[in-house]
């Protein structure tokens, strides 16, 4: 059977299980990124090389960086330096690094010994050309809908993420939930 597919699948399951049982957000993010790399190798083993590249570039590269930004924005106090130091301890990144090393071994196995019997890339390869022709041929209406979705998400994110500290202080003046540390308006 496909050795690469199963090795990457087991790594994906193990790292995902660590994500949901982990207390430290940065640690969980490292495991989540490793799980996405494992899924990318699974896509590659299934012949979807374009989807594998997208998974690494867009998912692990862009969306996870958004999560890292938010984690960093949430820790803006004096304990930050001490926490940064504690996050750089080797046992924190040893687990994700070991999982990523296993993935590298599986990928090298597929590339070097990649016969069908030891299972390198078994699926029929689909190039970006066919996917693009599919996207802008029969699926062009769905592409337009995705554009609407992204525009709506942009508007909603700009609306939700606005800086309305004056309204929040009004809420604090009315004795609502917000109690401490609300900056006075701008």
């Amino acid at each position: 059977m496909e050795f690469t597919f199963f090795a990457a699948g087991i790594v994906a399951l193990a790292t995902t299980a660590r994500v949901i049982t982990c207390a430290n957000p940065v640690h969980a993010l490292l495991y989540l990124i490793t799980s996405m790399l494992a899924l990318a190798i699974d896509f590659y083993a299934l012949g979807a090389a374009f989807a594998a590249v997208l998974e690494v570039v867009v998912y692990a590269g862009a969306i996870m960086v958004l999560f890292v930004f938010v984690v960093m924005m949430l820790n803006l106090n004096n304990e930050t330096v001490a926490r940064e130091k504690s996050w750089l301890r080797p046992q924190l990144w040893a687990g994700p690094a070991a999982a990523a090393g296993l993935l590298l071994l599986a990928l090298l196995w597929a590339l070097i010994f990649g016969g069908i019997e030891y299972g390198g890339i078994t699926g029929e390869e689909l190039a970006a050309r066919e996917v693009g022709m599919n996207l802008f041929g029969p699926y062009v209406l769905v592409v337009e809908l995705a554009a609407f979705l992204l525009l709506a998400a942009l508007v909603v994110a700009a609306h939700i993420g606005r800086d309305d500290t004056d309204q929040v202080s009004d809420a604090a003046a009315r004795g609502e939930r917000v109690t401490t540390n609300v900056r006075e308006s701008r």
Binding site: D42, I63, V70, Y139, A146, I160
Partner: protein, 102 residues
């Protein structure tokens, strides 16, 4: 791509989706809830890729690209809500926003 490996691929997608669902249910930190939502969306994408590889069709990859667009929109809005939650309630516990007491 034979039918057996399609069973394994769909099983992997189902297990990943289940892990993400368990994470959404058991974690109360909003950041972890959002991460588990990403896991579930990713598992759905894996199911599309497996099905596309089974029938040698580019439709699976096409749907995966649209799923990435949905995941990006979800992450942007969810993280914006997370920042507002932190700003207003001084915590990212998702139960703090349970004002409807449902």
């Amino acid at each position: 791509m034979n039918e057996l490996s399609m069973v394994y691929g769909m099983g992997l997608a189902a297990l990943l989706f289940l892990l993400g669902f368990i994470g959404v249910v058991i974690r109360r930190n909003t950041l972890f809830v959002l991460m588990c939502l990403e896991i579930m969306i990713n598992a759905a994408g894996l199911a599309f890729i497996v099905a596309g590889a089974r029938w040698s069709s580019p439709d699976g990859n096409t749907m995966f690209i649209l799923i990435i667009a949905v995941a990006a929109a979800e992450a942007a809005i969810g993280l914006g809500l997370l920042l507002q939650l932190q700003k207003r309630f001084r915590t990212i516990d998702i139960d703090a926003a349970s004002e409807m007491h449902g």
